[in-house]
């Protein structure tokens, strides 16, 4: 029981921890991508701002959408949203809950990119260098006598180390803008943390009972989907097994039973005899090369219909059970198997 419990916890936590793991991997990928990406400011007044801010905003959007793509629950959510009501009512709170949890997980990698970009400062430097007031850094005669356009062009060259001559001014400007960028970064992180805190820690104050309900049913939808897939797989396997055995039977023309059971007198089955019997049974009536060739050829040219026959089995069973027992076969009592007169009483008890 302990082992089952442990395994179970691992499986259940596995699904959530799997999603959390994907989240973490994406966050690391985001940080790694930033550090390996070669930031290349164009150093021209017309394009600096677009490039700088674009680098700040577009990759997070991409990561956000990637988070949705990688999350398995998106298809569950979409299916639950679009299905017709049928016999089961739809609960909008469940949809909201699933959407919120998917969104929360997808927001982590973009947040990591934005904060790493802001802490690094390069994108702000690129975007805002043309708005700098150089007099702040000291009395520099660099800008005197220049037209507006020339001033802008010179300021735009600040992010590029090799294009701007005065390293002192450049270092001062770099420090100033990086400082502002880092302050923005920390404020962003603070806002994010406070929002998360408000949502998660304050939630029990308001809607705890409703929350438990939505959590249970959204988890149920996920599990039900998995169970349905599992049951379909099992069914398909059994279907295929029975279909193939019936096909072999049909080709060989023999009424082979794939029951191991024999007449009622054989109570003590010899294991070895059983083994040889089942080997023979496994042959399914195909004992000659011609028969086998026919089986293989027909499997390609003329596959059997997807309909399983039931009467064959009943006929067999009825033939066997003709001792002192008036009764139905183990399995199916049907209107069209009628050699033996049946007399049975069935008493039904219900758990009331």
């Amino acid at each position: 029981m302990d082992k089952l419990r442990m395994m179970f916890q691992f499986l259940q936590s596995n699904q959530e921890s799997f999603m959390n793991g994907i989240c973490g991997i994406m966050a690391l990928a985001s940080a790694q991508m930033y550090s390996s990406f070669e930031f290349n400011c164009p150093c021209m007044p017309e394009y600096n701002y677009s490039y700088g801010i674009g680098m700040l905003i577009i990759p997070p959007i991409w990561f956000f959408m990637l988070g949705f793509v990688l999350n398995n629950n998106v298809s569950v959510l979409a299916e639950e949203w679009k299905r017709p009501t049928g016999q089961r009512g739809k609960d909008p709170t469940i949809l909201r809950y699933m959407f919120c949890s998917i969104t929360q997980r997808s927001l982590i990698a973009p947040a990591v990119w934005v904060s790493v970009t802001l802490m690094d400062g390069k994108s702000f430097l690129c975007a805002f260098s043309i708005n700098l007031d150089l007099n702040r850094f000291g009395n520099y005669s660099l800008l005197r006598g220049m037209s507006e356009a020339e001033k802008l062009r010179m300021l735009a060259r600040i992010p590029c180390k090799d294009l701007f001559e005065n390293q002192e001014i450049r270092a001062a400007a770099l420090r100033y803008i990086k400082c502002i960028s880092q302050v923005c970064g920390w404020m962003f992180l603070l806002m994010l943390t406070l929002t998360a805190f408000m949502i998660r820690a304050m939630r029990p104050c308001f809607t705890q009972a409703a929350f438990l309900k939505t959590k249970y049913w959204s988890h149920y939808i996920d599990i039900e989907r998995k169970m349905f897939d599992e049951t379909c797989k099992e069914h398909a396997k059994s279907f295929a097994k029975v279909c193939i055995q019936q096909y072999f039977e049909g080709i060989s023309g023999e009424m082979r039973s794939f029951h191991k059971r024999h007449s009622s007198t054989r109570e003590d089955d010899d294991d070895e005899e059983d083994k040889t019997k089942s080997d023979e049974e496994k042959l399914l009536g195909i004992r000659a090369q011609d028969d086998m060739n026919k089986v293989l050829w027909n499997w390609h040219t003329c596959k059997p219909a997807l309909t399983l026959r039931k009467d064959q089995i009943d006929g067999e069973n009825n033939g066997r059970l003709n001792g002192g027992v008036n009764g139905a076969a183990n399995g199916f009592v049907k209107g069209h198997t009628h050699e033996v007169e049946k007399k049975e009483w069935a008493v039904y008890y219900s758990k009331v």
């Binding site: 690094d120 400062g121 270092a171 920390w186 939630r203 029975v242 059971r261 399995g331």
Partner: protein, 329 residues
């Protein structure tokens, strides 16, 4: 595998040790964050202090809230505090205990950040270099035309051209760093003494029995919540399986009475029966297609009473004379 199982069981049994582990991980994250953060003093008189104190204070606040968020006990405490009384009376001591435990754990990572930044000294140098009396140190550049405040503000940026070939900034930095480290060590000492005094003196003032009760019941609340979540998951699984099987069986065409084996004929279950059971009566392509279609267009209602409480079929076998051969009753 056995060792892993033991380790997991240890962690599972003691929810406090999980919280301690997370707390320590957060402290390590705090150190790593500090070392990877590129501290960039603006070296301007108006902004130095603001920036430095901001970097010293805002990350600890963020780490504190993070510590509260990742702690499991926060949820347990809030649940216990906000729940209606119902059939179970509320014990304020448990809520207080959980709150203080959560607070202590959440305060570790911020303290680590503050201490590391003080012991490192960069932040103090950036913030307080303008307050240092420059006359104490030799080598201050006086030919740049900048006033004293601006020069002192540039001290944290040693590579600046103002200080070419001068050891002035290094001397000032060392001095301020010295102060910073002294403050850091004092705070650390104070905290440790406080902790030690608390540990030693608290038992004299408190009822040990009541403490043990509070600890037991707060651990109980945590375990109870975990078990409830587990039970819900197990239940959902069973519910789902029954619902799906019921859905399959509702799609059967024939009405089939399934009777249990008369026991004197055979005791063994047949392989064939297993297969038949797994088919749930769906044995044609059209049936299957219809089933799959219906699964999307008309999902079954959430009611498995029929399957869960299926009446058991009891059979009585009689021979021609009316003598009972076998009965399930």
């Amino acid at each position: 595998m056995e060792r892993l199982k033991l380790v997991l069981q240890y962690f599972q049994s003691n929810s406090e040790s999980i919280s301690n582990g997370i707390c320590i991980i957060l402290a390590l994250v705090s150190v790593k964050l500090y070392t990877s953060f590129d501290f960039n003093c603006p070296c301007l008189p108006q902004y130095n202090k603001l920036y430095s104190l901001g970097v010293m204070i805002v990350p600890p606040i963020i780490l504190f809230f993070l510590g509260v968020l990742v702690n499991r006990h926060t949820g347990v405490m809030m649940d216990e505090w906000m729940r209606p009384i119902g059939n179970r009376s509320k014990n304020p001591a448990v809520v207080k205990y959980l709150f203080s435990a959560m607070l202590q754990r959440a305060l570790l990572a911020p303290m680590v950040w503050i201490l590391v930044s003080l012991l490192d000294g960069k932040i103090f140098v950036c913030a307080f270099s303008v307050s240092v009396e420059p006359a104490v140190f030799s080598g201050m550049p006086n030919n740049t035309g900048l006033d004293v405040i601006k020069i002192m503000a540039k001290v944290p940026c040693k590579e600046d051209d103002v200080f070419r070939n001068s050891s002035f900034p290094k001397a000032v930095s060392r001095y301020v760093r010295c102060y910073s480290q002294a403050v850091g060590w004092s705070i650390l000492l104070f905290l440790i003494v406080l902790g030690a005094m608390g540990r030693l003196i608290k038992p004299c003032f408190e009822d040990h029995g009541a403490i043990m009760q509070t600890r037991y019941w707060s651990n109980y609340l945590d375990v109870e919540q975990k078990l409830f979540d587990e039970t819900c998951v197990l239940h959902a699984r069973d519910f789902a399986r029954k619902c799906v099987v019921q859905f399959f069986e509702d799609m059967r065409e024939d009405t089939v009475i399934r009777l249990p084996h008369p026991t004197f004929i055979t005791n063994s279950r047949e392989e064939w029966e297993d297969e038949e059971e797994r088919l749930h009566g769906i044995s044609k392509q059209e049936q299957m297609d219809q089933l799959l279609n219906k699964w999307y267009y008309s999902k079954p209602e959430l009611n498995v009473t029929r399957t869960a409480y299926r009446p058991r079929t009891c059979v009585t076998w009689e021979d021609r004379d009316g003598k009972t051969l076998f009965s399930d009753v």
